[in-house]
Amino acid sequence: MKNFLQVIVFSVILIGGFWGFSNFMIPKIEPAAPPTEAKVDLGSMTMDKFIALGEQVFNGKGTCTLCHNSLGRAPMLDQLVAHTPDRLKDPKYKGEATDLESYIHESLVKPSAFVVAGFGKAGTNDTESPMPDVTGGSIGLNDIEVKAVTAYLQDLGGAEVTVEIPTGAPPPEEKSAAAAGGGPRPPYKDAQEIIAKLACGACHKFAGVGGELGPDLSTIGGSKDKDYLRRAIVDPAADMAEGYPPIMPPDFGVKLYASELEMLVDYLSGLK
């Protein structure tokens, strides 16, 4: 009986050790909530807003930055515009695009039409892209969102934006990424949602996870006060962190409601 109890106690302590390590030694990360449905109001859409929608989709629902980032998983897209004419003439090109707009659109829905050297699926000799069709599967962009991303990528490369802003509403069952088309949107619930919606993780690390284009924010609250954090969000050019490119969008102060901004500042200041 003594042995029996010793074995029980030993096993419970061991399990407790694993449990404690997982709960107290590992950062508490709340996974992003599943994407929810929202409506796009095209009534008051301007080209600037349409490009902004594209950027939001690119950094958020489109999950493009999972691979198109500085880690080298997929080609960076800032040079896309410059490379397109050569790609369209490349013997390896298998698509039907004739200009930049149709090439970008084709790359989104038929990524294997042209695979940049070194980025193909292993064993396919760069004939097959690992990128999924963005209109299918778990990404599931609708036509409006695809066009918005196309406009954003044209704009990103400094080309003239030739995409026409759609006039019809997306199919009712399709999910749209944002309500950037105008009209008040419902406020975000919490800081996590704000971070997910604004795709902050594309450039910043939270709890050690995220991009590296911007400063790591995992413990930012330990070194910066609320005033600094607020200013860094609404006017990122005011205090640029050394060693990072000046790519932080300057319009978060416009995009966020005042209560949301404070919620985000409170959250960041608590990251210690």
Binding site: V7, I15, S22, I26, I29, G208, V209
Partner: protein, 622 residues
């Protein structure tokens, strides 16, 4: 009247068979939860129209009608006040899978041990094999009970998902039920016929029964795996996401074989671990020297089985992960680069515990031999490398620091230790850890023997050279490609590292077994001459394996995120979010406690079954 009675029995049997057929269905609620029968769910107009069109074409082509995943809402998920459907299904599925893994693994090595006994004509092997299978008999019943519970839980909380999967896998589920009966029949014949089918031809018949038992059990697992992997990497879909394939298409999905291989190897390691815990428990309870010797030998064998499977397990895991990346880069990045990235630090702790305890048991076990003194001086070096490798694996990429600490450090990355946080360092560490365990195993094997072959010195020199060259190669690949090349090479360098380890395992075992063929024994092995604390290493092995399996089940299921069937069948339940690591640790810990309690119950039953009480004066005399 009698005919009607038989018909009732037949009907009930068929119903039971169908219930059993659903035992090993995956835990769907983990990442999301909701689905509806295609015909019941209010599918979106476009999808319904598309389905109708495709269906019409399919009928014209005399093919099966497409099966469309329904689009559900939170209201489509039944709820029971006081119960969270996802947690119930998660917990029951995990318990079922643990027991299923155990009862599938034990017959594999029982069959091998019985065959060794037949080959060597050493009855100790036969007795031990029988004791192993005896332990699994009660566990088999518990597996079936938990399978039934899982089926009911799934039908209650996820009826639409079950409907969808049944429509796709219908025939295979029937075969599953039939195979379950076949497996039960083979198991009972194998176990109850053990002492009857002894000697000569009868023994061969018995061994054949063991083979059939394993064939039925393994096929069952392959079938159940196909349901699970279909949810991760569905195949046979048309452009609209409707299933238009047949059972073979659905079963042969992209991740089926990688999971099959990983599970078979892991099951054997897990089974060895649990049986080792049984032997350890019996060893600690043994009152006589003979019993201690017997259970020491049993624990040693179980540990060897566990280690034999533990060594190739990282390779199987690596292959599975590579295939996940190959199937979907997005899923791969979710697995390794998102919220789950921190899970691999927890995994490192658990695998470190597994390797350290397995090695510790081997080192303690060398005390059974009078010739072990020749090798004990090397153990401290092996221990240092294993602990160092464990610490490297355990080092996180970024550190959780206070403000003052961060200021003192100059950032979140430690100037020296930060370099150990990336994958090349961890790949290097795990390969060195595996090779050190291999070295422990080889020293353990040699402890009581002296080689008699003329080329023993040359053989030793070759092995030392191989291990040295292997270590240098692994370190070079890890350091050069990990820190002086780009990301692509950082990842790619792990392949030659793994191949180096693989070659070392195969070559060293071949050379060592040749070298020690016909070797002289230093003296008799002193079975039972092992400290009690070594038995606790076997408990660590069993508990860590159990907890680790639970944790990895969470990530395997969790990478589907908010999908029941990835990219095809959306989870619309209120639980469609990925639970946090902390919550997963809560569920896994509670489930492990329940599992261990049930396993101890199984151990106790096997002990009770061998106990006889002389009820003097109770029965009539004469």
């Amino acid at each position: 009247m009698r005919l009607r009675y038989l018909a009732k029995i037949g009907g009930m049997s068929l119903l039971l068979a169908l219930l059993m057929s659903l035992f090993a269905v995956d835990l769907p609620g983990l990442d999301a939860s909701s689905v509806a029968f295609a015909e019941e769910a209010p599918a979106a107009p476009e999808a319904a129209a598309a389905a109708g069109e495709t269906g019409a074409e399919g009928e014209e082509a005399a093919g099966p009608a497409p099966i469309v995943a329904p689009k559900l809402t939170a209201e489509d998920y039944p709820t029971i006040p006081g119960f969270n459907g996802r947690v119930v299904v998660w917990m029951v599925a995990q318990l079922h899978l643990w027991f299923a893994a155990f009862v599938l693994a034990v017959p594999i090595f029982v069959f091998i041990i019985e065959a060794i006994g037949m080959k060597t004509r050493d009855k100790r092997y036969d007795d031990m094999a029988y004791e192993f299978i005896k332990v699994s008999i009660t566990a088999f019943s518990l597996t079936a009970i938990l399978g039934g519970l899982l089926f009911f839980s799934l039908m209650i909380f996820y009826p639409h998902l079950m409907g969808y999967l049944i429509k796709i896998f219908d025939d295979s589920m029937l075969y599953y039920a039939l195979l379950f009966f076949a497996e039960s029949a083979f198991l009972y014949l194998y176990y109850y016929g053990w002492h009857w089918l002894q000697g000569g031809f009868k023994k061969w018949v018995h061994l054949t029964l063991g083979l059939l038992l394993n064939a039925a059990g393994s096929t069952l697992m392959l079938l159940a795996n196909s349901w699970t992997t279909f949810m991760m990497s569905p195949s046979g879909m048309d452009a609209s996401g409707a299933f238009v394939g047949d059972i073979t298409t659905a079963m042969g999905n992209f991740l089926w074989n990688p999971i099959n291989i990983h599970r078979i190897v892991a099951n054997v390691a897990f089974g060895g671990g649990v049986v080792g815990a049984y032997a350890a428990f019996k060893f600690l309870s043994a009152k006589t020297r003979e019993l201690r010797a017997h259970y020491d030998w049993m624990g040693y064998t179980a540990n060897i089985i566990a280690i034999s499977a533990l060594l190739p397990l990282p390779f199987a895991g690596y292959y599975l992960t590579a295939e996940i990346y190959m199937y979907s880069q997005q899923m791969g990045i979710t697995l390794m680069g998102g919220i789950f990235a921190w899970l691999f630090i927890i995994q490192a702790v658990l695998i470190g515990a597994l390797f350290l305890s397995a090695n510790y048991y081997l080192w303690c076990g060398m005390g059974r031999s009078d010739g072990a003194g020749r090798y004990t001086k090397y153990i401290k070096y092996i221990a240092i490398v294993i602990v160092a490798a464990f610490l490297v694996w355990f080092t996180p990429h970024t550190l959780i620091l206070t403000n003052a600490e961060q200021k003192a450090l100059g950032g979140q990355y430690h100037p020296y230790l930060g370099a150990l946080g990336i994958m090349p360092a961890k790949n290097t560490a795990v390969n060195l850890m595996i090779n050190c365990t291999l070295l422990s195993f080889i020293l353990f094997r040699r402890a009581n023997r002296v080689p008699t072959v003329s080329w023993a010195k040359a053989g030793n020199a070759i092995m030392i050279g191989m291990f040295a060259a292997g270590a240098v190669n692994i370190l070079f690949l890890g350091i050069y490609h990990g820190y002086f090349t780009n990301t692509v090479y950082k990842v790619a360098a792990s392949i030659p590292q793994v191949l180096t380890t693989f070659v070392l395992i195969v070559m060293s075992l071949i050379i060592d077994s040749r070298m020690y063929k016909g070797a002289k024994e230093v003296g008799p092995m002193h079975w039972g001459r092992i400290p009690n604390r070594a038995q606790y290493a076997l408990f660590i092995l069993a508990v860590s394996f159990t907890w680790l399996m639970g944790l990895m089940g969470y990530i395997r299921s969790g990478i589907r995120q908010h999908w029941h069937v990835k990219d095809i069948f959306r989870d619309a339940s209120p639980d469609a979010f990925t639970p946090t690591l902390g919550f997963a640790a809560d569920v896994v810990s509670i489930a492990t406690l329940i599992f261990m309690a049930m396993v101890i119950f199984v151990f106790w039953l096997s002990q009770v079954s061998a106990t006889k009480t002389a009820a003097t004066g109770y029965w009539k005399e004469g």
